[in-house]
């Protein structure tokens, strides 16, 4: 019994070592901020802070990759989630979007934070300050609504 456990542990260790050699590509960052939402929108500072701390690791080209995110198998998960998140919505491309898309995204942002679907639980467990307080949630929602109204009003 003891022996099997030992072999199992060695096996796992070996798998972990081998898995480091499987290539994973974490999505690349890009320092171009010319279309970035935080740079191009005149949002209140609180809103910009919320976006940066709670959304940007996945929904922008400015992901901060901590050391453990570069170690398999965590890196596989991070690579996949980040790629999918950027495909769905990338705040670094904000200014290029049509008015229609902007309104839709603002609407979805409000819905996602209201229902506490975003930021994802698996992320906030580790990044504690990304877990939004109720106050931060309502700050973000009221900004999305007023921005959306602005766009509808022709701005």
């Amino acid at each position: 019994m003891k022996k099997t456990l030992k072999y199992l542990a060695y096996g796992l260790l070996l798998a972990l070592v081998i898995s480091q050699f499987i290539p994973t590509e974490l999505p690349e960052n890009n320092s171009d901020l010319s279309n970035d939402i935080v740079v191009t929108e005149q949002a209140p500072d609180e809103v910009k802070i919320i976006l940066r701390k709670a959304c940007y690791d996945c929904h922008s080209n400015q992901t901060v990759y901590p050391w453990y995110s570069q170690v398999a198998p965590v890196s596989w998960l991070v690579a996949k989630d980040t790629r999918e998140a950027r495909d769905e919505l990338n705040f670094s491309d904000w200014a290029e979007l049509s008015k229609r898309k902007k309104i839709k995204i603002l609407n979805e942002m409000a819905e996602e934070v209201e229902e506490k679907n975003m930021p994802m639980k698996i992320y906030t467990v580790i990044h504690r300050d990304a877990a939004l307080t109720d106050e931060e949630i309502s700050t973000l929602i009221s900004w999305t609504k007023s921005r959306s109204d602005n766009i509808l009003g022709g701005d």
Binding site: K99, R100, K101, I103, K104, L106, N107, E108, K145, S148, D149, I151, L152
Partner: protein
Amino acid sequence: MKRSGILFVLSAFVLASFIQMNISKNAKTESESNPLEEYKFPKKVKAIIDKSCYGCHSVDGKSDDAKDALRWDKMHEYDKAKLVSVMDDIIEVTGEKKMPPKKFLEKKPDWKPTDKEYQTLSKWADKEAGKLLK
């Protein structure tokens, strides 16, 4: 005394069933009036929605996901921002022919819009969004 007691119970019964009847009658008229009328849809568009979409995206729908995504019968209650975003969703799903879901169409192929119908829906949604953004 005993008699009037029975009479009382009886009349309460009659009254109650009367109210009951009225309620169900009201409920019926409510579901009979087609809510699609409340938002102005061109005839051509309405026919496509009725054929291909309404069953899932209305009170009658069984999937909550579908109803959360879009309610044709609640369209008139959406605010402008919500309407614009719904129109954008419709343009997306008709462009990619993602709706009705593939699996569902295998069972009910007659719900499938023709290419032309997909285009009609898409163009209509584009126009609606354009009007709101004017």
